[in-house]
């Protein structure tokens, strides 16, 4: 049963299994173990980023193409909900219409970009998506009548999901059972389904073709697969999943603006999550998101202390300051691409495989 749910793509490492179970359980029980809004917000962000990064992994890790427009689709999803909820009122049909419209927009856009740039040359894709994404960001910030411009949109959710709606008179284990909690679990379950669906996709015959293209596109074409078609489908699928991640984020935040979903920093976060977690392993997105979002939220406090300690050293104090957070991320990014190309998950699996090989060796020696 569990094997089927995970599409027969098991963690293949005991440490990884423990870590994954820890993350999933931790996220599932956050409202009860860690009371307080900050912990819940961090957990929700981890969940959304798991979906976002896993969908990016389908493109980067499995198909081997770099897209910088992933946050654009993330933003389209979030704006879909935000615009629908502000224009049509906070009702369930409005949310459904917003999601459907966002998915349709993403589908058309990703299909156009994919067909156009992947047909010409695969490496153009990175540059063209970068250009399109930055144009979209400017466009969204300028179109203030619809998107709220730089300020973004704040909106209300349907009655059932509001924090004012109480479902139980008494708080359970320190968490009040209200609409906010319901939203959290809605996001959690949706994310779980999406990640399992992504696992299903990458472990299907289609996913195998994608990996073949990643390893050697010339040979894949020679075997008879139309690589343009496969690459385009992969980029469309990944865009749709990113859109849904955006929908989840907007549901949780009840706000969307260019900085929260479209900015280049988010794109970097996603890249970093996938690279550090491990490209070409959906589990990498889970581990990476947990690591990065936690670090982002709690490590900056540590950096503040560090900046205090280096106060008298002129340049160093400015680099250690929390505003230069991106510097350390960038450094980590470069170093991990060099020395850690398989990421955390890849490393753990390698270790486990080596260990298993050693055990098998010993067993065969004994048998003799």
């Amino acid at each position: 049963m569990l094997r089927r749910l995970l599409s027969h793509d098991l963690p293949r490492s005991r440490v990884l299994t423990v870590v994954l179970i820890g993350i999933v359980l931790g996220l599932a029980l956050t409202p009860f173990i860690f009371p307080g809004t900050r912990a819940l917000n961090v957990a929700a962000k981890v969940i959304v980023f798991i979906v976002l990064a896993a969908s990016f992994d389908l493109l980067l890790g499995y198909t081997g193409i770099v897209s910088f427009a992933h946050t654009m689709f993330f933003g389209i999803g979030a704006y879909g909900i935000a615009i629908a909820a502000t224009r049509l009122g906070p009702t369930w049909p409005a949310l459904a219409i917003g999601t459907a419209a966002a998915l349709a927009t993403s589908l058309v856009l990703s299909l156009l970009i994919g067909l156009f740039s992947l047909r010409v040359r695969a490496i153009f894709f990175a540059m063209i998506t970068l250009a399109v994404a930055s144009a979209f960001l400017t466009f969204a910030s300028q179109l203030s009548d619809v998107t709220g411009g730089e300020d973004g949109l704040t909106f209300q959710l349907p009655e059932a999901l509001r924090s004012g709606t109480q479902y139980a008179a008494e708080p359970f284990l320190g968490a009040s059972i209200d609409g906010r909690l319901l939203t959290y679990y809605l996001v959690f379950i949706a994310a779980l389904v999406l990640v399992l669906a992504l696992l299903r996709i990458v472990n299907s015959p289609f996913g195998r073709v994608l990996q073949a293209i990643r390893e050697n596109d010339f040979r894949a074409e020679a075997i008879g697969y139309r690589i343009v078609v496969y690459r385009t489908i992969a980029s469309v699928a990944s865009a749709l999943f990113a859109t849904l991640a955006g929908v989840l984020l907007a549901l949780w935040l009840r706000y969307n603006g260019p900085e929260t979903t479209l900015s280049f920093e988010i794109m970097l976060d996603v890249l970093l999550i996938v690279v550090i977690g491990g490209m070409g392993t959906v589990y990498g997105a889970v581990v990476g998101s947990a690591l990065l979002v936690l670090a982002q939220n709690y490590l900056q406090d540590v950096m503040k202390l560090g900046a205090g300690a280096f106060e008298n050293v002129p340049l160093l104090s400015r680099i250690v300051s929390p505003e230069r957070w991106l510097f350390w991320l960038g450094l980590l990014f470069v170093l991990s691409v060099y020395w850690f190309p398989n990421g955390v998950v890849g490393r753990l699996r390698q270790r486990a495989a080596a260990w298993r090989a050693a055990v098998a060796d010993r067993a065969s020696v004994k048998a003799r």
């Binding site: 770099v66 040359r121 250009a131 930055s134 144009a135 300028q142 890249l271 680099i319 691409v337």
Partner: protein, 356 residues
Amino acid sequence: MSEAVSEVVSEPAIATASASSGDATATHAIPRTRFDALPLLLVAVLALAAWPLVGSSSTWLTLTAAGLAMGMIVFIAASGLTLVFGLMDVLNFGHSLFIALGAYVTASVFAALATWTSMPSIALNLGAIGVAVLASMALAGAVGLGFERVIVRPVYGQHLKQILVTLGGAIVGEELIKAVWGPQQIALPPPEALRGSVLIGEVVVDKLRLVSVAIGVVVLVALVWTLNRTKIGLLIRAGVQDREMVESLGYRIRRLFVGVFAAGSALAGLGGSLWGMNQQIVVPQIGAQVNVLIFIVIIMGGLGSTVGCLVGALLVGLMTNYVGFLAPKLTMFSSIGLMVAVLLWRPRGLYPVTSR
């Protein structure tokens, strides 16, 4: 002049065949390849098409002049990137770092030479600009050398890693820039005597733009001369066509590449310096802003082609200025639309490089 840049692009094999089978006089002359003038015509068509849309002739001329000036700056910044790709197949996403560096160095030099820039003397002002430009190029070139060694060299031949690592390197560099110069924007007022604009006939032209166009023309001529009239230029062009062949003839293409990378970075620094002067403000995102235009330009021109890069830059410069006047919100999309149209017409860019 652009004819001089002619790369050996169109069917050299056919040209040789017809030359050897043709009359005797043609056999000892090196077959000249025909220069493809259609893309250049496209620039003129774009400019003329915008005329009726803009309406007033003097506005149109002003916009055209501004567009050509902008195209020139973008070309300077982009030329290094396209050569680096053409020569070594290296996709450098860190190019924006050198642009930002150039702009910031210019701001620092202007601040340090405040006595020169505040005097209403053209000689002193031009001197300040000269110092700023040279300092930007020197620093950007030096950083480029380090960048090539530390960031680019370990990932030769791996496109995916190249994109990721050079991007990471650019982020680290840009954060360092923010740490040194501060994250806030820095005003970069033009030198005293170069403020305002001059009227040439009916056309209003920014004085500073004239200076940057002049610098741009000098660089362009130098670049064209180097590429076409020197041994190094010959090797670079040959390397773009066929790297392995140049290597097997005994030239160290690696060393050549390092030189091209440093020179390209220096040119990006120069472009950033000029861009910053024309924007009159320097922000940390300056590199990323220009970088998007540069990517559009080099894809449109045909990756690796210098002429293509020039024509693409002029097209984008003109397009940006016309659309910026007619419908400011669509400026970015218009450049992308132009690129899409060009690629639909010629899928490998305006001047495709044969071996790629």
